[in-house]
Symmetry: C2
Subunit: 336 residues, 2 copies
Amino acid sequence: MESINVALESPTLSRMVTPMKPSDFLKNHWEKSKHLVLHGDVQRFYELPGISDVESLENVLAIYKNPVMVVGEAVIEETGGIADRFLVDVSEAREWYEKGAALEFDFSDMFLPQLRSWMGKLKNELQLPPGAGVKAIVYAAKNGGGFKAHFDAYTNFIFHLKGTKTWKLSENKNVVNPVQHYDLVEKPYIPEELSTYWQGEHPEDSLPEADIVNLVPGSFLYLPRGVWHSTSSSEATLSLNITFTHPVWAELLVAEIRSRLVKNEIWRELAVNINFLDEKSKQEVLHKLDTELKKISDNISSIKAEDILTRDSEDFDLYHITQAVFRQSLASKHMY
Amino acid sequence: MESINVALESPTLSRMVTPMKPSDFLKNHWEKSKHLVLHGDVQRFYELPGISDVESLENVLAIYKNPVMVVGEAVIEETGGIADRFLVDVSEAREWYEKGAALEFDFSDMFLPQLRSWMGKLKNELQLPPGAGVKAIVYAAKNGGGFKAHFDAYTNFIFHLKGTKTWKLSENKNVVNPVQHYDLVEKPYIPEELSTYWQGEHPEDSLPEADIVNLVPGSFLYLPRGVWHSTSSSEATLSLNITFTHPVWAELLVAEIRSRLVKNEIWRELAVNINFLDEKSKQEVLHKLDTELKKISDNISSIKAEDILTRDSEDFDLYHITQAVFRQSLASKHMY
């Protein structure tokens, strides 16, 4: 297959990071997972098709044919403290907005084919594999709200459209390349897998070493995975997020290993809970597995980089795909 | 950990397969993936808490606070042939039922805690690992409908409550222990992974070698994964399915391998699409991956059966979990 350097000309990325050169963005921010804030005229966003369609909450409410997640104090009150968010019919979203709940319009691109036209190109310009997922989310809140300190395992590009929102952004000294989300309120608990690559002490809740940035209409934020961040606001805000979920190399390798294992009908047998087996059956299961494990070493050792790369278009983010399919089914009645 | 033989006393399974002994069911049907049909008085189902709550469509419509999947010709007409199913508000479900659509009440157990009380016990009695998923689905149709020939990768226990539905059930001579669903209408196409363990010719669409079974009120069907089946009916029917998604050994092993890989930050780097790299960068990526691959062989070779078993409570079925979480968010407003 011929190698094509598409990064030399990146029309979508160029519009997003202007006046920065896309190649400088890729080298100094993308590859280093270093956040970037660019302020400017909100009009420049509208060169990207579809963004002007979400410039007001009224427009979004008119376009969006799906349940809307409402988040915050108003929901905590409604549920007697049990939940801080739930989904409501879009016809009720305005009422919750007025009550002070933040609105999250997930998968907004389902209703904005103009957005989709360049989201796919952006994926290529970022050199992400076909199996990476991308979606658009619109956030709206009447009087602020905000999120406490956390970091994500996905990438966000944020187009800030209305109001002022204050962001704290702080380098992550605990983990490099995280593959899962973590909320600082969980401190001192660290999930088992994350703890295997966590180093040092948690930051303080207030993120004292953070950059403090006010996003205003026309501000653009590249938020890499892993960066600690918190947000706050005291006025009506509206923003569009383009969010990428992207496989890491481990996931491509694991997909290749899985494909080799499932050729063997023993590896396709249902796993059993050995705690519910008698001693003899338990020993038989352990023996069977150990016997099969001995056989696979050579097979796995033969895996080459090229084998891994052939897995790059698989569906890695099942959360993303399952939700997309479900939301499509919810929208279908309105869409034909 | 002490080994406990709970299978000796399986109160839930015993109620389901009566008058068969649970141990006979496990040995002759469950372990052999051999289907089982038992007819009897529908009243015996009601000894399992919650089943009597879904004995009529009216009851189900009153309990279920979630979108309902409507399936069939009525939907095909509505969408101009583009889709054969979509989700509608439960308040509209009756109207679609009257138009002839089949109704699928997925995750009905969310609204039937009495069902949940024994579904979890059943999982243990079937010796499934904690990470297995279980849910209840109610199906209702006014004038039949049905599904064309296919096989599933999950297990179904069907409690038939109303009307007569004709099932064809045919041994699968093409695949043993399938880990994915397959519809016979896809013939001759076979998805890549499935083709790696597929043998022989497809059966004919009519499943000429099938057992033909009429399920009537009080009929119980154990439908193992993999069994070819199709259904048809010409009258109003209602049934409750208890569906298990269950990890296979390959998935536990893959989870163990993944956990070892992600400790290394290089395996946590974002995968890139090498088609978008220049030749030099491409060679660097290939070299990096091949270097890391050489290092992991010893690590993977050291995996023992016990390591795999420690993975048995992970979330294997992300489709199941993601949908459950989403449906919970849709129901929350009604539930507090």
